[in-house]
């Protein structure tokens, strides 16, 4: 390299340096100018301030923030692209001209709101018209007509189709007291409460009843509902969401089935009252959860007296299992409050527990043994507190009529003062069950008692042998065909022939004959399309506290006579 070249390169370097220097100066000036102009804008000042503060001589942090920003922008763009894509795909309106589209809309024919009647509906019509209607109460006797034959009044029937096992309001000892109390409250408070519980709907009577119920039934607190049937779905779905686990009995009633559907929890069904099967599920869930390491809310759901067959749940085993596998226990006691237990305190007293601390949620009814209307939920104070905010049927509906609360408070007082009514009921249940089972053996009846011998509701169903002889169907075929129709989602109406034919047989051969003998028994009320679990038709006889020994003998005699005759068909 020559000197000249060297010199020229030096000059060039110098010039380059100068250029850089100059430029950086101008750049600085530019920045300053920019900065000044930005400073006048409030928003940019805030942003610049944020950048300055967040930077704090930590380029790593700025880098991370930048990446987060980029990912955020990318995410938004990607989403909007997806949306526009999905909109672009299937649109009928884009493929048709406006006129064609109008025609297309006109072509749509909806199905009728309910299915039109077809030939199977003779059975349906029969069932509708067989609905009994009470026209008069005469003490504990009733006058009944049916809808198809309103002129033909059947008088002075012994009423055995009810859930009011104590019949306190018909008891001559107390009927006057309860009626005067009702009149007094209505003359003081009117009939309706005219508002939801949160908005001035709860009167002092409501709070008093909540306190009384909790005290009487041995629980920490109590929440009142307007209807027992609505309270179960509302409570269970309040304390459940996706991911929580429910293990329920296979023969739970419709209210619980609705609750399970609303709760969105994972549901397992164990065989009816089968504690080994239950333990299998509990163990499975427990181990799964242990491995996952997530704590979900877990419930065992069952009924105390099963509405479908009158069995009583095994509380001892349930509590043992619940404590072993850390589950909560939910019991629907709509039928058993006031009927089971020495003083009518329900299933816990029946099994000898001093209070309800081991049962987490109890749902009971004011409409059955307690004799007015409404439902209630027992549990600890925390659960009740949240229920008053989260439970839909409590928040969004008007509270109970005040007179219902006043009357039930008085009924509870009667039950505490005088245990003779409940003792009488238990005596009657024992007698009735004993006599009925003895006499049924004698007449070789094909109807069997499915209920527990201590249940006040006696349920009778056909034996399998008889069913297959009469209708050429058995339990499994009935279950199968009901299941098939249910999976097909025939929600409009399941006209299930074998089931309805069996019901018709029971109605005509047993219940109608009993009515002629002045006894009113009831077909178990079912609406099949809402039942998602298998069941069989049957009829029920309720034992109440007003029966005398002669009545029981008389009723069981006539019952066996009719059942024996029906069994010879």
């Amino acid at each position: 390299m020559s000197d000249l070249e060297l010199a020229s390169s030096e000059v060039k370097q110098n010039a380059f340096q100068m250029f850089v220097l100059n430029n950086s100066l101008t750049q600085n000036a530019l920045f300053k100018k920019l900065y000044k102009s930005l400073e006048q804008n409030y928003v940019t000042v805030v942003i610049m301030d944020y950048i300055k503060k967040s930077h704090q001589n930590d380029p790593y942090r700025t880098f991370v923030e930048l990446i987060v920003l980029v990912i955020g922008i990318y995410y938004i763009i990607r989403n909007s692209k997806k949306n526009s894509n999905s909109k672009k795909t299937s649109k009928v309106i884009d493929n048709l001209t406006p006129k064609e589209f109008e025609n297309f809309l006109q072509e749509w024919e909806p199905k009728p709101l309910v299915d039109p009647l077809d030939e199977k509906d003779t059975l349906f019509k029969w069932k509708l018209n067989k609905q009994p209607v009470i026209t008069d109460f005469k003490g504990d006797k009733v006058d009944v007509i049916t809808l198809d034959d309103p002129q033909n009044k059947k008088t002075d029937l012994y009423n055995l189709a009810h859930y009011n096992f104590l019949k306190l309001s018909l008891n001559p000892k107390y009927s006057k007291r309860l009626t005067t109390l009702t009149n007094k409250i209505i003359k003081n408070c009117g009939v309706g409460s005219c508002g939801p519980a949160g908005f001035y709907g709860n009167e002092d009577l409501h709070y008093k009843l909540e306190y009384d119920l909790a005290k009487f039934l041995g629980s920490e607190s109590c929440v009142l509902y307007g209807q027992d049937f609505a309270s179960i779905p509302s409570v269970l779905s309040t304390f459940n969401k996706r991911g929580d686990i429910i293990v329920a009995d296979k023969l739970c009633n419709v209210a619980i089935q609705n609750a399970l559907q609303l709760s969105r929890a994972t549901v397992y069904y164990y065989d009816h009252n089968d504690m080994d099967d239950l333990e299998r599920y509990l163990e499975m869930v427990y181990n799964d959860e242990k491995n996952d390491g997530v704590l979900h809310r877990r419930y065992i759901v069952t009924e105390s007296i099963f509405q479908h067959n009158g069995q009583i749940c095994k509380l001892d085993d349930l509590i043992e299992l619940k404590q072993k596998y850390k589950f909560r226990l939910f019991i629907d006691e709509t039928l058993s409050i006031g009927a089971l237990g020495k003083t009518g305190k329900g299933i816990t007293e029946f099994y000898g527990y001093p209070d309800r601390s081991l049962v987490d949620i109890t749902v009971g009814s004011l409409g059955n043994s307690l004799g007015t209307g409404g439902g209630f939920v027992l549990g600890d104070a925390t659960m009740s507190f949240f229920q008053r905010i989260g439970s839909n049927a409590y928040c969004f509906s008007a509270s109970l009529p005040p007179y219902c609360c006043g009357v039930v408070s008085d009924v509870l007082q009667i039950l505490e003062e005088d245990q003779s009514t409940i003792e009488k009921l238990h005596y009657n249940i024992r007698q009735f069950n004993f006599l009925l089972s003895e006499k049924l053996k004698k007449v070789k009846s094909h109807f069997i008692i499915t209920s527990n011998e201590k249940s006040p509701m006696i349920v009778l169903k056909m034996s399998d042998k008889f069913r297959s002889k009469l209708f050429d169907s058995n339990v499994s075929t009935i279950y199968e065909s009901i299941n098939k129709q249910q999976t097909k989602q025939h929600k409009s109406l399941i006209v299930h022939e074998p089931f309805l034919l069996e019901e018709k047989f029971i109605q005509e051969e047993v219940i109608d004959k009993l009515i002629d003998l002045k006894i009113m028994a009831g077909l178990q009320p079912y609406s099949l399309q809402h039942e998602s679990l298998p069941l069989l038709p049957g009829f029920l006889i309720s034992v109440d506290a007003l029966m005398e020994l002669e009545d029981i003998e008389n009723i069981t005699d006539k019952l066996c006579e009719v059942l024996g005759a029906a069994s010879r068909k």
Partner: protein, 477 residues
């Protein structure tokens, strides 16, 4: 606080509510709990007796010194003033108790039906103008257990976004798809209908089996009405079915109190299902579903409430029967019409009065529900406590019933209030409104004819409004 121990302390079972789920309850609801669930006693009629209570430790518990406070009642759903403990209705109820007893027998389909049920059902059907109806013992449960008896997953329910929780529960139970539309926006509804009919079910694109439009007659939180004429037109054009929940409108709207159909002059047979409750206008409890005979026959066997729930008790049925007869003029002629004209005047007077004072009020002229917007959640307890000091019982509505930013106070008008009562309310709301800076109306929503923000003097309002409120000109919505 002790009550929250169970969610804070670790235990072997999962807590009832997680910390996050209970945030609203612990941090917001608990602080204003003294404004909710005020215990009352006696009849919720023109006056309501609030039992006084003293709050401790941020509403953790209350004590009751035993005193009562007689408050003017703007809180109960006692639209026609039938919540009373004397008069024709009460006599009728007490007479019926002697005949039918107080206890319920069992579910309706298990010998729970009495002749009184059938008579009341026939009367209700005649009142609303339908073939037949079914009565259930709880209003919420009427809706919640109704849709699953005729809808399945191949059906679509198009529901107003502000529909009541019971309708939402019922539809969810039925398994049908739900598409909400913007409140009372008929254009959006039509667009949605066209789209849904043409697109069919998602994924399979099979056409829908049935499409049911669900609306409420009178929306209880807004005081607005459904646009029934337009809905009937759309329903006929697109062959959908229409369900109207008249929980608040039955008895209170229309010249003879027969609900939205009468108010708009529409044949009830154009609406497929009319549902309503007896809690509000009739001072009883329970609900009904009215439809044509074929539908009701099906429901009598299908409804779960018919088969498994307890029936309406005698006093409730008798109250419904007698109050409905009075409204129809068949019992004590003239009384029903007087009640109806009173409620119309009262609601129009209070609404226009509040609008002229400068408050923002939602809803239509004749609605007996008058919601006054507070917006800021912190103004709710302030308003409620100040009104209670002035012996007026009002309902404040917060999340979850309304959006968090649209907190409101709801005045429920009753026929048992007099003009002097409304004057009293206006005077005190005026004072409280000044204290809490609630007079923010721009006049566009109603109350001013010249377009300027109305800020009338209270004396002027009381002097002029009673006459002006009879004129539809002043109600711009």
């Amino acid at each position: 606080m002790e009550i929250f121990d169970s969610i804070i302390k670790p235990s072997s079972v999962a807590p009832w509510f997680t910390m996050f789920e209970s945030f609203f309850i612990r941090r917001m609801k608990q602080r204003i709990d003294d404004c909710f669930s005020r215990p009352t006693t006696g009849v919720p009629g023109r006056f309501i007796r609030c039992i006084e209570r003293v709050s401790y430790n941020m509403n953790e518990y209350f004590t009751y010194p035993g005193a009562e406070k007689l408050c003017l009642n703007l809180s109960s759903y006692n639209y026609l003033g039938f919540a009373q403990s004397e008069g024709t209705c009460t006599d009728f109820v007490i007479n019926n108790i002697d005949k039918w007893g107080v206890s319920s027998n069992g579910p309706r389909n298990l010998l729970g039906t009495t002749q009184l049920h059938l008579d009341t059902e026939a009367l209700v059907a005649r009142f609303v103008g339908k073939d037949d109806c079914i009565i259930t013992s709880m209003g919420y449960s009427t809706n919640a257990n109704f849709f699953n008896s005729f809808l399945n997953k191949n059906c679509l329910v198009i529901s107003d976004e502000l529909n009541h929780a019971s309708i939402r529960t019922g539809v969810r139970l039925s398994g049908a798809s739900v598409k909400p539309y913007k409140h009372n926006d008929m254009k959006v509804l039509e667009q949605l209908l066209r789209e849904q009919i043409s697109e069919g079910q998602p994924k399979t694109h099979k056409p829908w089996d049935k499409i049911l439009i669900c609306v409420e007659g009178l929306f209880s939180m807004e005081g607005t009405m459904c646009n029934l004429p337009e809905l009937v037109k759309l329903k006929k054009k697109y062959k959908c079915y229409l369900f109207v929940d008249e929980a608040h409108s039955i008895g209170a709207m229309g010249p003879n109190g027969r609900g939205v159909c009468e108010y708009f002059g529409i044949d009830p047979n154009d609406v497929d299902v009319l549902m309503g409750t007896f809690t509000k206008s009739f001072g009883a409890a329970g609900g009904y579903i009215a439809a044509d005979q074929k539908f009701i026959n099906r429901l009598r066997l299908d409804l779960t409430t018919q088969n498994y729930a307890e029936p309406s008790p005698t006093p409730v049925l008798s109250q419904v029967y007698s109050s409905m007869k009075i409204i129809m003029g068949e019992m004590n002629p003239g009384e029903g019409l007087e009640r109806l004209s009173r409620i119309t005047f009262n609601s129009r007077y209070l609404r226009l009065g509040l609008q002229r004072l400068g408050f923002i009020v939602y809803g239509i002229a004749d609605s007996p529900v008058v919601p006054l917007l507070l917006y800021a959640p912190s103004k709710m307890p302030a308003f409620s406590r100040l009104m209670l000091e002035r012996n007026i019982a009002v309902v404040i509505v917060a999340y979850p019933a309304t959006p968090l930013t649209e907190s409101r106070v709801r005045f429920c008008i009753s026929a048992s209030l007099t003009k002097e009562d409304i004057d009293y309310v206006l005077r005190h709301v005026d004072e409280v409104g000044d204290m809490l800076f609630l007079k923010t109306s721009s006049g566009i929503g109603g109350g001013s004819l010249d377009g300027k923000p109305p800020r009338w003097n209270i004396e002027d309002v009381i002097a002029k409004t009673p006459e002006d409120c009879k004129d539809d000109r002043f109600f711009t919505i």
